[in-house]
Symmetry: C2
DNA sequence: CCGGTTTAGCAAACCGGTTTAGCGGACATT
DNA sequence: AATGTCCGCTAAACCGGTTTGCTAAACCGG
């Protein structure tokens, strides 16, 4: 008659089975070192007691956790609301599962990423969106934990996976220019609150902006700084920016968003303003999330292999983790490409109307 | 000159600082037990050596991990592709972060959920969609780990959070009937491959189906079994079902999907079949994911408080975890409600046309 | 029958921390 | 001067497993 007693330990099983702790351990981990019937008996006793080896103790002796961490400088609650992150996690999970690793999500604990990392029991970390200017990069670097960075080059001595942000953005810009648009609005993704650094020219927003500008420069046009507005990479973020831009009198003919979620929000807000897409305003996104083809209208966007990004990051990481081969860090860059759907069209001759509207 | 040496342990810091391990431990955990300057000196040495207490060892002595697990019977890679799960995780993450807990995702390891759970170092588990018929519930039950179930009543001795599936589905059914529809198709969500049990009348699909049927029964109509088709709760799942249904000659005037992702897929497939929504076919979803208002056309769906579900589950769990109060398990049920948008409309008098089309 | 090899299982050390019990010295009290 | 407290710190035990030596008995060939 066992009451609400604690979980049985290995010693309990040993006593009950009349053997040593060693034998119990063997029964689970190297049964061949025991007489078959002994192993069987021990396991029966264990099963009977509901014994389950304490995974923490096991981790301690084996000095590995079979877990990889996904590190994000933003709160998980904001991260998970971005469909991009879901897809990325999907890739990460796929590769991790394949190798028998579990997944642990690490986000700032009481505001500190480094602290959160200290508490986390992981064999390695995939860090996404850890920008160069983050105040804790130095502590993270010193943590002596294998890391692979995604969408960032903040820690060049570690491996990394990125995409061709500049090229993708340039393609989007060229396409929009080809349709005759010159008056555009850029929707940039806000860096996590933690690094207030400002523009961060090497962050995702900076790189994509560079791509857009390259395209414009090539035809002698330009994108003024006041045309670049940043906000959270979410549907609501897109809505908010468009509304405030319209209030400020901006009347662009095309929107270049750095995230599909923002682009979708933008389309929403534009429609609420009684504007037709792409008749009045063209919208281009970035990411090509699963739902991009299914929104109204289907979204023209820059495709990036989101899942593969997650997979590659894990593979890179595990290659370091498994053979402690910290040799030369590998940097991998994946391709992007423009996917034209129906949210973009040629610019309409309505300059005068817009001009009258403004001011 | 330190080479690629291992991470420093507490003993290294102690030696370097000329104190005992105890003192080092105190310097970090209860500095007030040391002379101020001693504590400072020790921390300086630690900082200098790049010492970081091994979290696993710490967990072992404290007998808590400050981590909660999110258990799902499906592979994470399939789970993360469902926007519903993203939102749910958001709620979970929110509540977990608030209490200083980390998040560990647990999915079947080499096919075994119980094994995955054994390896996981968590203080408690939120299990989502663990159906009654799952072959490993018994092992999971015996794991001696606090659990809260979401959308399931498989383990009545543990706490649970569910929603009013039946009521929500009934509301959707009544609304569709009110629009004149009688010829419907139900898109059910597939239980995870692991529990091949079959229909599972108490699973999510079973409960919602009951709701639809109650509504139909109330007006003397019925939904035949062959009108119920199950598939993965994803956009692609919805597309596949609609296509095969149309191939089989079904020409319903309304689709009742048990997941927004499926509903979106269904709309996609319908549009590809040159059908108008809601002119030719009405579509109702379930979940009310963030994007539901933004798809084309905005989706009529049954709203459920997805994030709150995650939050409540964590709160329930932590109330058990923190004071080991296994007293009476709490069961909480959240409300659902129908949100009418534009994917539904009155049935069109086109019966004859459909009849001619069929067979 | 004897020395050598296997086999089955054990005791003890170890993983890297935390915590308990206690000790010597400084200081206060009588 | 003797006694009692407090302070600052330490040695050793402990968390719950795994792993390393090692031993006693069984086995084996000659």
């Amino acid at each position: 008659m066992e009451q609400g007693t604690q979980r049985p330990r290995i010693a309990d099983v040993a006593r009950e089975a009349g053997v040593s702790k060693t034998a119990v351990s063997f029964a689970f981990n190297s049964p061949d070192r025991l007489a078959p019937e002994t192993a069987l008996r021990i396991r029966a006793v264990a099963e009977d007691l509901g014994y389950r080896p304490n995974p923490v103790a096991r981790m301690l002796t084996q000095r590995q956790t079979m877990t990889i961490g996904v590190l994000t400088p933003q709160a998980l609650s904001v991260i998970f609301s971005n469909p991009f992150f879901g897809a990325f996690s999907e890739g990460v999970a796929l590769a991790a599962e394949e190798h028998g690793y579990g997944l642990h999500f690490i986000s700032p604990l009481h505001g500190s990423l480094a602290r959160a990392m200290s508490r986390a029991t992981v064999d390695g970390v995939v860090a996404i969106g850890l920008s160069d200017g983050h105040p804790e990069v130095e502590q993270i670097r010193r943590a002596h934990v294998p890391i692979v960075l995604v969408d960032s080059t903040a820690l060049p001595e570690h491996g990394s996976v990125e995409i061709d942000d500049v090229g993708g953005a340039r393609a989007a810009g060229e396409y929009i220019l080809g349709l005759g648009h010159r008056d555009v609005l850029i929707l940039g993704v806000e860096p996590p609150a933690a690094d207030l650094g400002g523009p961060d020219p090497d962050g995702v927003t900076g790189r994509r902006l560079r791509g857009y500008r390259e395209a414009f420069a090539a035809v002698g046009a330009r994108i003024d700084d006041d045309r670049v507005m940043v906000g959270p990479a979410s549907v609501d973020g897109g809505i908010a920016i468009i509304n405030s831009a319209w209030e400020d009198g901006f009347r662009p003919t095309a929107i270049l968003a750095m995230s599909d979620a923002m682009a979708i929000g933008a389309m929403r807000a534009l429609r609420d303003l009684r504007l037709d897409i792409p008749g009045d305003v063209s919208v281009v996104g970035f990411d090509d999330i699963d739902l991009a083809p299914h929104v109204d209208p289907p979204l023209t966007t820059v495709h990036q292999p989101i899942r593969r990004k997650g997979e590659e990051a894990v593979r890179l990481l595990l290659s370091v983790v498994e053979r402690r081969d910290l040799a030369r860090p590998e940097h991998r860059r994946l391709e992007t490409r423009l996917i034209v759907r129906s949210s973009t069209g040629p610019v309409r001759a309505r300059r005068e109307e817009v001009a009258g509207d403004r001011d």
